[in-house]
């Protein structure tokens, strides 16, 4: 018995199949979910993958957040369903108000693709428990709109509650406030980040590192109690 982890495909999702592969490599069962379908097929957790859903038109994540599948995701996330938003998925989570803040265009106005150094700030969430707090990892980053912003009050609150999950180290690639790369909700079941852990799960491809695999083993352990 293993965990079933759903991966939503929106029109314009790009890393959905890669995320399914990462879930499989971690030992869980990936389940494809479709944006027009409210049914989550009784999965144990959901990943909103990276990409340019709806072409990022209007604003990244702004249209996807209204898709039928998101109604169920929002409802169940509030009831404790683990949800991970990667890149565009993170943007959808903020648009859906499952996570606070918003993402603006990178401060240098270019798309950026690089192997990014991060520090794991919170290793207690559903998606980060296989890391050590303070651990330094490298995860590929690739986006156009990755500048995390929120008002000072929200930022202070995130810091105070330990809800900054990941911070950019050495180089802030997009102008994110307080070097924030990823955050979690209060309960720790919903996590969003701009870098792409699903691209750091095999030594042979991508950057050749496997620093992203613990995302998927963390959730697997939580779900099957291993």
């Amino acid at each position: 018995m293993t965990a079933r982890i759903g991966v939503v495909t929106f029109p314009g999702s790009l890393d959905d199949r890669d995320t399914q592969r990462a879930i499989r490599l971690a030992g869980a069962e990936p389940v494809a979910l479709w944006h027009k379908d409210k049914d989550l097929k009784q999965v144990d957790a959901v990943v909103l993958p990276g990409g340019f859903s709806y072409g990022d038109y209007l604003r990244a994540g702004a249209i996807s957040r209204f898709s039928p599948v998101m109604e169920t995701v929002v409802e169940q996330a509030k009831a404790g369903l683990p949800v991970l938003g990667i890149c565009n998925g993170f943007q959808v989570l903020t648009e859906a108000h499952l996570l606070p803040g918003a993402m603006l265009g990178n401060d240098h106005l270019h798309f950026i693709c690089r192997d990014q150094k991060l520090r794991v700030e919170n290793a207690t969430t559903s998606w980060t428990s296989d890391y050590e707090a303070g651990q330094e990892i490298h995860i590929p980053l690739k986006n156009m709109d990755g500048r995390y912003v929120a008002d000072e009050y929200t930022l202070d609150q995130l810091e105070a509650e330990g809800r900054v999950a990941f911070r950019y180290l050495d180089f802030n690639p997009n102008g994110s406030l307080r070097d924030i790369a990823g955050i979690t909700n209060e309960a720790g079941n919903v996590v969003g980040l701009m870098p792409h852990p699903e691209h750091a799960v095999e030594p042979l491809v991508g950057t050749g590192r496997t620093d992203g695999l613990p995302f998927f083993t963390s959730i697997l352990k939580k779900l099957v109690g291993a």
Partner: protein, 752 residues
């Protein structure tokens, strides 16, 4: 083209004396007369529109055809070739039931007029060619050439082109794994924006552009048709830029990558359910091309009702609808009983799909508008029987003088200090400097199968997770070499791409090319073109790598000044297990550096002659294709058997450039010793072809030497991976820090 009264076939027959604007549409007088002769009457406005775009240089290859035939005539025997020249893209067997399709095309003229959209739609077009073969696109590459790096207009064109390629390709979810960026003032008014793509499919999924089976439906799907890109192929890509003419910006199409992503997914789903008999993408010449090509390649005719084409602008005339180059459109031929399912899949992906016609049992292409027949032609005469020109060509009068101006006689550095300064200057020069400011704007990781991406010698993609089967692609071209000798220059481009594929451990299989030249109406340019094609065809035969398709871009000139002749060659290779790939970066200190091949005093067209002396003259490096083949075999064997841990091809900038790149990428330095029989200058900076530098673990040295000795490949031990500097013993030492600064700061300083 007035819309009232409707210019039907009947009307055209009844009004033989009506003057049509053939010259404005880019046709020559004799070409127009030929159309009249073919039809036995004057063409209708719609027919004229179709002929004018399909008979343009860009679509008909009328100036290049007589030369391009050599690629077929001289094609080597190849078991790997599944689909050759003539289809949307060539298809190559890579084993395990997989086939790979790949192609390189140009989008030069639009990218100069409107850099972002020109480059973006270049990516879009090549990707649709790949989908039309039945394949899932898996990677793109972009060989780019711009004017001088410090010219103000380069700062307009380059960032727009790079953002356009990224904006489109990133949004499609295609990793960008290779290509080149070259600066030379000869490209100032004519940047070269070439775009390549690779797709993967199973053998049984190969699809062709043909309409067969009377009664089958013709479905147009994707974006609505608008007024953009009208005349893109005939006017923009087939004429020389001239200040006197009005702005051509309206002839550039505007891309929507999101629509294209949906088009990819919905097309692949339709393929998977075997719903498609024939398929064609709409690129240059839009519906004119798709309908005439599908009909002429099939067994019957075709009837199309143009009123059914979904429009963005309801005021478009039928001529404009036929000529529109609106992006993100495809045309499929589907059996009647499968039409419903096809439309369902399109609806699932929110893609507009419309039945616009059907295959008939006749042999005519008939197009109707408002009930009147506005086109009635033999589709072959539109698609395949365009004019063929035997353009006059002649070796230019200045060629001898250029070749006599020998670069080997240029003053060389006289002291170690001077040599060091020149090396540092070279490493920092725009052409030799790191291009990461550009490539970091492209997604390398998406799809999760990228094994190698630029700045590696070739891009490599895993095809099969089980076996580790992978493909590699490299694109190369050197306009400076080709200017000195187009025959040799084209062969050097092939040799370098072939070598780059082998350096990463993959076996070269097939070739696609993008031939960028000036105006074919200039006999000197035509001679360059003829020589380059002859050279490339001869070399492909000798190396056993057939040309599977490609593209010719002519009229790359402003006024009287043509670009350097620039054949860009893409080589596709296969590797049995990507775990055996060889990277550029030095991996471990203590490993031994070997130089493979022969180094001669060859500086004609070299980076050194350009950067230090601003000189172009003499002869390019010699080509020895048998040596290239042997070198490739050694590199592939050594990679497979674990005898080398890193390898880098030697090309522009010579050995020192290669060593510096390997050192910077690996974060490990090198100590080099000048071998007996060579002076330090020639050792470091000569651009002799057929060479690579490899790092051999000490435990493998004997085995590696034995292999090279037995096969007769010169292998010279030149040093060791060591420390945090690049040191040439007895000459100079440069710290990695100093080198990194020189190598990495140039491009951002000029363009960021």
């Amino acid at each position: 083209m007035s819309r009232t009264p409707l210019d039907t076939v009947e009307h055209a027959t009844a009004t033989p004396d009506v003057e049509l604007p053939w010259a404005e549409l880019g046709l020559k007088k004799d070409e127009y007369e030929r159309i009249v002769e073919i039809l036995g009457r004057r063409p209708t406005g719609a027919e004229l529109a179709m002929y004018s775009v399909m008979w343009s240089e860009h679509c008909s290859y009328k100036s290049s055809k007589v030369h391009l035939r050599q690629f077929g005539e001289k094609a080597p025997e190849s078991d790997a070739l599944l689909v050759g020249i003539g289809e949307n893209a060539g298809v190559v067997d890579v084993g395990h039931g997989y086939a790979v399709t790949f192609k390189v095309e140009s989008h030069n003229h639009p990218s100069y007029v409107e850099p972002y959209q020109g480059a973006a739609t270049g990516v879009g077009g090549i990707v649709r060619d790949i989908i039309a073969m039945g394949a899932r696109p898996v990677a793109v590459v972009d060989p780019l050439r711009f004017g001088a790096a410090d010219h103000p207009d380069t700062k307009r064109v380059l960032p727009g082109v790079v953002a356009g390629i990224g904006g489109y390709g990133n949004c499609l979810g295609l990793p960008n794994i290779g290509g080149e960026v070259v600066f030379d003032s000869c490209y100032q008014g004519n940047p070269l924006v070439n775009a390549g793509a690779i797709g993967v499919m199973r053998h049984e999924d190969i699809h062709l552009a043909k309409a067969s089976g009377a009664g089958n439906k013709v479905i147009l799907y994707g974006a609505r048709t608008g007024g953009d890109g009208i005349g893109g192929a005939s006017i923009l890509a087939s004429e020389t830029f001239d200040d006197a003419k009005p702005s051509k910006r309206p002839a550039v199409q505007v891309g929507d990558p999101f629509q294209e992503k949906l088009l990819i997914e919905c097309t692949l789903e339709a393929f998977q359910e075997k719903l498609v008999v024939g398929i064609q993408d709409l690129g240059a010449a839009g519906l004119s091309c798709a309908t005439s090509e599908l009909a002429s390649n099939g067994s019957g005719g075709m009837r199309v009702t143009l009123d059914d084409v979904p429009l963005r602008d309801s005021t478009l005339s039928p001529e404009e609808i036929l000529m529109s180059e609106s992006q993100e459109r495809m045309c499929a031929v589907v059996e009647p009983e499968k039409v419903d399912r096809f439309l369902e899949i399109c609806e699932k992906w929110d893609v507009i799909a419309t039945v616009i016609g059907e295959v008939t049992d006749g042999d005519r292409l008939e197009i109707y508008w408002h009930g009147g027949k506005i086109v009635d032609v033999d589709p072959r005469t539109v698609a395949h029987d365009g004019p063929v020109y035997e353009r006059p060509y002649a070796r230019p009068s200045w060629q001898d003088e250029l070749q006599a101006d020998d670069a080997n006689k240029l003053p060389r550095p006289e002291t170690s200090e001077e040599l060091k300064d020149q090396v540092l200057k070279l490493v920092a020069s725009p052409n030799q400097a790191s291009k990461s400011w550009i490539t970091s704007q492209y997604d390398h990781f998406v799809q999760g199968n990228t094994v190698l991406a630029q700045p590696e010698d070739s891009g490599m993609i895993r095809v099969d997770e089980e076996s580790g089967l992978g493909v590699a692609i490299a694109t190369d071209g050197n306009g400076r070499y080709a200017k000195l000798d187009p025959y040799t220059g084209a062969q050097l481009a092939l040799a370098e791409a072939y070598r780059n594929v082998a350096t990463t451990g993959a076996k070269p299989l097939a070739v696609s090319d993008c031939l960028n030249f000036g105006s074919p109406e200039d006999p000197a340019v035509m001679w360059q073109f003829a020589e380059a094609v002859r050279g490339l065809a001869d070399a492909c035969r000798q190396l056993g790598t057939p040309v599977t398709g490609g593209n010719v871009s002519l009229y790359n000139q402003t006024g009287e000044t043509a670009i350097h002749p620039t054949p860009v060659v893409a080589v596709l290779g296969v590797i049995d297990d990507v775990a055996r790939r060889t990277p550029v970066a030095f991996q471990e200190e203590g490993q031994l550096l070997y130089l493979l091949g022969d180094t001669r005093e060859e500086f004609g067209g070299s980076a050194w002659s350009q950067v230090i002396h601003d000189h172009l003259g003499g002869l390019p490096p010699q080509v020895d294709l048998e040596r290239e083949r042997l070198l490739a075999e050694i590199l592939i064997s050594a990679s497979r058997d674990g005898m080398i841990d890193s390898a880098h091809d030697l090309s522009d900038g010579g050995l020192i450039q290669a060593v510096v790149e390997s050192a910077l990428l690996g974060g490990k330095g090198a100590r080099l010793v000048v071998p007996d029989g060579l002076d330090a200058f020639t050792f470091l900076l000569s651009e002799s072809a057929g060479r690579a530098v490899v790092a051999v673990p000490r435990s493998e040295e004997v085995r590696f030497n034995d292999m090279c000795g037995a096969r007769g490949l010169p292998a010279t031990r030149i040093g060791v991976v060591d420390g945090d500097s690049v040191e040439v013993q007895g000459e100079f030492q440069l710290s990695l820090e100093e080198l990194r600064k020189a190598h990495e700061e140039t491009i951002p300083a000029l363009l960021a």
